[in-house]
């Protein structure tokens, strides 16, 4: 199963379209149960996702059902990197992680060698199988994966933002044996929310977003399935991270995942690629709490 479960919703009320707020423990349990049944084996988390790590530790009680990818907070120094990793292990109640990523690639740019040594140490001590970085910028990724051998990166990939699917980056990843986890498939929910229910800010992007819904209608598929199809059929992507606030949402996503099978052959999904930073980069959006 190529889907991985994101856990930011377990610790904070995240996403401009998430109005349910933080997920309660009982709901979390039922989401995780469904995920395991569906064959999802990886949970994606981070120290800065509120209390997500702690709650995952509480609910899963150190069971071996899932592997964890976690991210150490931005601003981490070589001196406290291992302390941070230790904190995550403790909160998640496990002895070992699948991967530790730097949440902010800027940290590697600023204090490269020392911080990188710390990551290597963690991997040598087998606190994690893999080390890597979470990226926003494809240019930065291209530079850093060549400079610092790493095992895994995470990056935003969706119908609008296809920077990380460029031929150059794909071959750099393959050549350096770096796996990639795709996040932000639904662009924080924006891509799967009907246009009339989106915050006003997105009104100006009607011409970009509308064709999506038109194509979905024309081929009678869900927009969500189209979003997932892009990553489902991309061979460089190892896992596709999706988040949800309820068991029902995960059911929906799992259905869409099935629907996505074979869609790339029928639909030209690359056509949606858009380079308007103000639309594709959530960091460029104004404050949009709904």
């Amino acid at each position: 199963m190529k889907l991985a479960l994101g856990t930011v919703q377990f610790g904070t009320d995240y996403g401009v379209t998430n109005s349910a707020g933080q997920v309660c423990l009982a709901e979390m349990e039922s989401i995780l149960y469904l995920a395991a049944q569906a064959g999802i084996d990886t949970l994606d988390t981070a120290t800065v996702y509120g209390n997500a790590e702690t709650r995952l530790g509480q609910v899963l009680q150190g069971s071996q059902e899932f592997r964890f990818v976690t991210k150490v907070p931005a601003g981490v120094s070589a001196n406290n990197l291992l302390e941070e990793i230790g904190g995550s292990l403790e909160r998640l109640r496990v002895h070992k992680l699948d991967a530790v990523l730097l949440h902010d690639s800027g940290d590697l740019l600023a204090k490269g060698d020392e911080l990188y040594t710390g990551l290597q140490l963690a991997r040598q001590a087998r606190l994690c199988e893999r080390i890597g970085v979470s990226f926003y910028s494809d240019v930065e990724a291209l530079n850093l994966i060549r400079q610092f051998p790493m095992d895994l990166i995470q990056a935003p990939i969706n119908l609008l933002d296809q920077r990380f699917l460029s031929a150059e980056l794909s071959s750099a990843l393959t050549d350096n044996s770096v796996a990639i986890h795709a996040r932000s498939l639904f662009l924080q929910g924006v891509l799967v929310t009907p246009l009339d229910r989106l915050p006003d800010y997105f009104g100006g992007y009607k011409s970009v977003l509308e064709p999506l819904w038109q194509m979905a209608e024309k081929h009678s598929v869900g927009v969500m399935a189209m979003c997932l199809a892009l990553a489902r059929h991309c061979p460089v992507i190892e896992r596709v991270v999706v988040g949800c606030c309820s068991r029902d949402q995960l059911t929906q996503i799992l259905e869409a995942w099935e629907q996505a099978e074979g869609l790339t052959e029928k639909l030209d999904l690359q056509a949606f690629s858009c380079d308007d930073q103000n639309l594709v980069m959530p960091t460029h959006w104004p404050e949009l709490k709904v």
Partner: protein, 259 residues
């Protein structure tokens, strides 16, 4: 309670981070711990590392392996040992070092047994050395360790846990375990890259068919593979000790100057 205290740190000067260097995909220290755990007489194993931030990785490795870990002074290893021993309520302390992954649990048990049978204060297999360098086992009573901790003044006696005992043989009842013949020309400790090459080679050759391989198995293998045995020829025994003896000289000179 018989507590083995395994000293390990990452900031070694000659081969930095050696204890985490992977052999057969595992950190060297993990393989050593695996072997120590086969001792039948050790009640508890504690890894004594330093409070340096980098050694947090050793602490976390211990958590993963479910081994106790104590963090103390970087340079005053005697103090680190003493506090580890107090902390773990040790009656007898077995001193082991993290750069000796071939340590043999049977030899550990031999030394412990002689120590307990003779009621010695300090029992080892290094006075004089007959075992390969890297299979050193030292067992001491808690009170011998405490006496050393209280009395030691020289830098070398603080940096090397048992130097005080060795320097004051009249104060302690000392016993020694000897090997059947003299193997002390063998060098199985890891200080230099060449040592690491030898150790990796031995693990790769012996571990897959028998993870519990003994000193005899290694000796036998080296007999039939003389070129492997030469991998780390020409490296001096105990260079670390020589550097702290130099520190002693300057300490003693300063002390004279103070008078």
């Amino acid at each position: 309670m018989i507590v083995a205290i395994l000293q390990a740190r990452l900031s070694s000067s000659r081969l930095p981070r050696k204890v985490l260097k992977p052999v057969l995909g595992k950190p060297m220290l993990e393989l050593e711990i695996e072997r120590i755990r086969r001792s039948r007489l050790i009640d508890k194993l504690v890894v004594a590392t330093t409070t340096e931030p980098i050694d947090k990785s050793i602490e976390l490795l211990c958590t993963r392996l479910e081994v106790d870990c104590f963090r103390g002074s970087l340079d005053n290893v005697l103090d680190r040992y003493y506090r580890s021993a107090v902390n773990s309520k040790a009656d007898q302390v077995v001193r082991l070092t993290g750069d000796c992954p071939l340590i043999d649990p049977q030899i550990i048990d031999q030394v412990i047994m002689l120590h307990c049978e003779t009621g010695s204060d300090y029992t080892s297999n290094v006075l004089p050395p007959t075992f390969p360098d890297g299979l050193d086992v030292e067992v001491m009573t808690f009170s011998a360790l405490e006496t050393s901790w209280k009395e030691a003044r020289l830098p070398s006696e603080k940096e090397h846990v048992t130097s005080y005992i060795e320097n004051h043989p009249q104060k302690f009842r000392i016993s020694n375990v000897s090997a059947k013949s003299d193997f002390s020309n063998h060098r199985w400790t890891v200080d230099e890259v060449e040592d690491f090459e030898l150790i990796s080679h031995l693990f790769e050759a012996l571990y897959p068919s028998n993870p519990e391989f003994s000193m005899e198995d290694v000796l036998h293998y080296l007999d039939s593979h003389p070129r492997v045995a030469q991998l780390n020829n020409g490296i001096q025994r105990n260079e670390g000790m020589q550097s702290s003896l130099q520190k002693d000289q300057s300490y003693l000179q300063r002390e004279k100057a103070d008078v």
